[in-house]
Amino acid sequence: MHSVVCIKQVLDQDIPPRAFRVDRAARRPDVAGAPLVMSIFDGNALETALKLREATGGGAVTALTIGPKGAEEILRKALAVTADNAVLIAEGDLDALGAAERAGLIAAAVRRTEPKVDLVLCGRQAGDWESGQVGSMVAEALEWPCVTFVSQITDAGSGRLRLRREVEDGYEVIEAATPVVVTVTNDESNVLRLAKVRDVMMAHRKPITTWSAADLDGARGAAGAAVTDLFIPEKSSKCEFVDGKTAAEKATNLVRRLREMKVL
């Protein structure tokens, strides 16, 4: 089983709202010096692929990203948690590409990757624009089936996978033949592991395959959607803190205020 995990470098999602600014004219965040990290659901996707490799006792995991040279950092991180290979699709300005174009590039890279790819995993959505489009569009570009919101994958034998898909009222169990594209959501089982020190050092010696968008020739036309504004929403709510000398007094006052507000 050869899995390709698509990962994206994004602005640290833990930047608190009060520290978050945008450059409205450029329609981009304006948080100079803020750390860049691997998008969190991509970490879940990577962990899911590593677990599947370990359970099946073979195969390989390739981490793939589109981005500038600096995005190699998350590929190194993937290698450090024992991904076998890393691919960078070099693209200086990722924001200039629409979801369909990114998906086209990823699909082209998957077609070119050796050995033949059985499974493509993406986080369910990226931690910046949170659109949740690229994974499903990769499936369309490859003309493979797609299973979304998967939290666990096991090998069902003879080229089939058994997937746990999270839905509103619980979960579904899906069986799919490979090749297939999967988007991954989080659960308690797929939090990305920590790298061992030795593996971090090894990761720095591993090669990163770099392709340019021109090498891949997978980009599609414009998507007919443009961002025309980006702003910080106004928040009007003012919190009223309940008083009390003891916890019990505060609790009683909270209940009293809730009753006065007619919500209890």
Binding site: A100, M137, C146, D169, A225, V227, S237
Partner: protein, 306 residues
């Protein structure tokens, strides 16, 4: 503009707010669509939909788009609609906006507003392609009243070729605990990393029982393995809209707050008076939930006579 609403369940009836046609997969939902003015209210019932809802549904939606001549397709931002929207857009070469929280049709353009960066910013997208696909968050539109005697129309011409290769749903497990569901609950009691362990959700459950409330959780509590993923509230979990949301030991990461933005009132209990949750709460209590919850449960019992 010609609209098509993909109404996969009754929660999706709100997508009919702007009129147009609809497509559904069960007779009762299609009948509701017709009664609420959808015309035509396409119904596609096929064993393939039960077996492979993702692929079969997508094919049916494509057929409904063709037959209705729709140039604006609305889907819900739920586990089905989120899967269909990007694939449909790819097939139709459409402009797409997902997670939309406000939309306006202006001539040939659809202008969409949507939260980005975990709700820390809002983006405006203009869809200019000939066909547009919009994934709409729950609660953004309001379902029209039932007012007509219309009937569903059977949808034909659905291309199901290649179905032997589709992924198959072999099981659907509902994990709902007793009591109201998160989606329906008037009151939700929710816990986060601050609770420190699975066993402490039992105390939250006591409070929830007194208030006839549902119990939810933040992503942190799910990642710790304390509660199942189906309890997760937030942009990547459930979007809820109770009258009262009681957040206990939840710091208020914007990802989580995106799931409770539609709550009418938020009351927060947290040891850290600077926690972001208080920026959006109407009532705040700074304190340790272990000391606060027992008297809180007692006070609620007394008030409600339970």
């Amino acid at each position: 503009m010609k609209l098509l609403a993909v109404v996969a369940s009754k929660a999706g009836l709100e997508l009919l707010a702007m009129g147009g046609a609809s497509v559904s997969f069960t007779a009762d939902v299609a009948a509701e669509c017709a009664a609420r003015g959808a015309s035509p209210a396409y119904l596609w019932q096929d064993p393939l939909f039960e077996k492979s809802p993702s692929e079969a549904g997508l094919r049916a939606i494509e057929a409904a788009v063709r037959q209705s001549g729709a140039d604006l397709v609305l889907l819900g931002a739920d586990s089905r609609g989120r899967e269909w929207a990007p694939r449909l857009a790819a097939r139709l070469g459409a402009g797409i906006c997902t997670e939309c929280t406000g939309l306006k049709v202006e001539g040939d353009i659809v202008r969409c507003e949507r939260p980005v960066y975990g709700g820390k910013a809002t983006a405006v997208l203009e869809l200019t392609a000939p066909v547009k696909v919009v994934g709409v968050r729950a609660g953004v539109l309001a379902a029209p009243d039932a007012s007509t005697a219309g009937l569903p129309a059977a949808l034909d011409g659905v291309d199901t070729s290649g179905s032997e290769r589709w992924p198959v749903r072999v099981e659907h497990v509902a994990e709902q605990s007793e009591g109201p569901s998160l989606q329906d609950a008037k009151v939700i009691v929710s816990g986060g990393r601050g609770l420190g362990g699975a066993e402490n959700f039992a105390v939250l459950k006591q409070l929830a029982d007194v208030l006839s409330a549902a119990v939810g959780a933040s992503r942190a509590a799910v990642d710790e393995g304390w509660v199942p993923a189906s309890w997760q509230i937030g942009q990547t979990g459930k979007v809820v809209r109770p009258d009262l949301y009681i957040a206990v030991g939840i710091s208020g990461a914007s990802q989580h707050m995106a799931g409770v933005a539609a709550a009418k009132n938020i009351a927060a209990i947290n040891t850290d008076k600077d926690a972001p949750i208080f920026e959006q709460a109407r009532l705040g209590l700074v304190g340790d939930y272990r000391e606060v919850l027992p008297p809180l449960i007692a006070a609620c019992k007394e008030l409600l006579g339970r």
